[in-house]
Amino acid sequence: MTQEPKVRLRGVYKIFGSEPESMMPHVHGGMGKEELLAEHKHVLGLQDINVDMQAGEITVVMGLSGSGKSTLIRHLNRLIEPTAGEILIDGDDVMKQSESGLRALRQERMSMVFQKFALLPHRTVLQNAAMSLNVRGMDVQTQEKEAAKWLDRVGLGGYENRYPSQLSGGMQQRVGIARALTANTDIMLMDEAFSALDPLIRTDMQNLLLELQAELQKTIIFITHDLDEALKLADHLVILKDGAVVQQGEPQGILLNPADPYIEDFVSDINRARVLRVKSVMGALSAKKFSGDVQLTDNLESLIALSEGDTSNIYRVLDGETPVGQLDMRDLVKALVPRISSAA
């Protein structure tokens, strides 16, 4: 990728406590989260985070509760100040911004969607969606026109004059998304935006997000603790543990080659056939005869159905019309077996 990343974190550390700066030498000396808490009463929130987030992609940050996901995403708009490190947006260091520069950044270049929706209860749905424009001091007509447009886009046309408490959770989060879209920013930060919703609504919202993303190509940073959600949405997946990045990269790659037991654990429960795609397990074209053609982006589940369980089949893989490789069903079966290092 030649393009410069939209958002770039370089060597970011965050330590919570009374004297975070003085803890840096300990952390550089290799002290872990638990030791630091036990010996110095400081919480190591993030350690040495280096992540590049590309424009137009969804970067998903995943980790268990307490792994530092919320802390990480709040560094991007400086709701939390880093203890050390650089945060670059379009190449500008956020840390060097003045107070008004930071406000402009939050108003015009980044918007945020929250786990608990965080809507203003005393404002109508329309006023909530228009919040970002209201903050910028835009005239009421423009505010309402834009807000109504995006409310309509997320499927809330006709609810403009309700209050948030009159809506269901899923609808409230649609307002949250409309509010972020109305801000018309390149970057959208979503902290467990769908975690509070029940599974069906959640799938709906994920589809809505993918649909909007196909249309708008925003740079989205999405936090989740759910691997299925991460795999569904991610272009780039970052896995956090105890405030450190354990692995990052293309999600299929992580699934096939987990870097450590923590991630193996994570991925062992997943329905691999549904998540893995032909692209990730195919080999170079070598066979003469094929049992049929499949698409690069098909998932393995559909292939198993196609082959009716016959492992001797070999399929030709097409990217649109052009052949790009072949898929041996035996490789497919191997890919379905999760790698467990503890078994070795």
Binding site: Q107, S111, A118, L120, H122, R136, Q166, L189
Partner: protein, 341 residues
């Protein structure tokens, strides 16, 4: 020979004690105490200032302490007055103006106005009818004038309490230091019996000035509005505040668009309490020439005019219920607006 002589002798302080034997003249109480002591004879007296003074003239007596406080206060009085007088003068004007207005407007205008006001803030049919009937009843038993005086004072004092209290509450909610410093003062204002802070006020201002009772009422009634503004703002959902920050609101925008509206139910509860406390205090303040129903209660006590006192008491209860119901109805209206379903 006094009981504690041996202490001073033992410490070799006898000389120091006798160096200043110009002891203050004995008061009647001292004389009585001494007489009592001589008869009682045995027992160990508490080593109080007075007991020690008997053995050693240099030690002050307790009444020197109270005299000292008084002297210090009197010494500071003129400079305090120089500062406080001009600052508080508008309070006198406001009180006198309101008293004049509430009495100058004829009853057939005043009662409908008050009933309309009730309807406007409470939007409750029952409350409005109750208020109208109460005022008519007060008029019927010839207590409307005094009730209006009481009401005028309450309006002015509550209004000023809100104007001063809300910003103080906001400041407290913004700064933990400010909160820690203010809470003991608020506790003190709320727990001191009201009579106690009338005393220094009487020294500072003349009893003929309305601001004297105005200040007494405000000091007492401002506490809940400050506390509940502070509490209300601190209780605003952290997530909503974070959203406000994330969308780049300035502190001012955050206060006006988010914190104050969300704290409003608590602030209104504070206003309700402030009104009730001004009413309680305006009765006591009749001791220092506040006009109104309290004066009649006082007359009832002084002259043992049972009927006068009780009728005035009923008037106060009526006012209390009116004010409470109206402000509570306004409060629940705000609450309802939040979660209209």
């Amino acid at each position: 020979m006094a009981f504690y002589d041996w202490v001073f002798d033992g410490l070799g302080l006898r000389e120091w004690c006798d160096s200043d034997t110009s002891a203050a003249p004995l008061s009647m109480a001292d004389l009585l105490a001494q007489a009592g002591n001589d008869e009682g004879g045995e027992g160990v007296p508490f080593p109080s200032l007075d007991a020690l003074n008997e053995s050693c003239g240099t030690v002050s007596q307790t009444r020197d302490l109270t005299a000292g406080i008084e002297d210090a206060f009197l010494a500071a009085k003129s400079s305090l007055k120089l500062v406080l007088d001009p600052i508080t003068q508008p309070l006198s004007w406001a009180l006198d103006g309101a008293l004049w207005l509430f009495q100058a407007v004829p009853w057939f205008v005043m009662i409908p106005l008050l009933v309309l006001l009730t309807w406007y803030v409470a939007r409750s049919f029952a409350v409005t009818v109750f208020v109208a009937l109460s005022f008519l009843f007060l008029g019927f038993i010839d207590h409307l004038d005094v009730a209006m005086q009481t009401l005028a004072i309450i309006f002015v004092c509550t209004g000023l309490s809100v104007i001063l209290g809300v910003p103080i509450g906001i400041a407290m909610s913004k700064s933990d230091t400010m909160q820690r410093a203010s809470i003991p003062v608020l506790d003190l204002l709320q727990t001191l019996p009201s009579f106690v802070y009338l005393i220094p006020l009487i020294f500072l201002f003349s009893v003929t000035e309305s601001k004297l009772y105005g200040i007494a009422i405000i000091l007492y009634a401002i506490v809940p509005i400050i506390r509940l503004t502070d509490l209300g703002i601190r209780l605003v959902d952290k997530d909503v505040i974070e959203a406000a920050d994330a969308f780049g609101m300035t502190n001012r925008q955050k206060l006006i668009k988010v914190q104050l509206p969300l704290a409003l139910p608590n602030i209104m509860a504070g206003v309700n309490q402030t009104i009730m406390m001004s009413l309680a205090m305006v009765v006591i303040a009749s001791l220092v020439s506040a006009p109104g129903l309290g004066v009649l209660v006082l007359r009832g006590i002084r002259n043992l005019e049972l009927g006068v006192g009780i009728v005035a008491g009923i008037g106060i209860v009526l006012l209390a219920v009116i004010l409470d119901r109206t402000s509570k109805a306004a409060l629940s209206r705000v609450d309802m607006g939040r979660n209209q379903n």
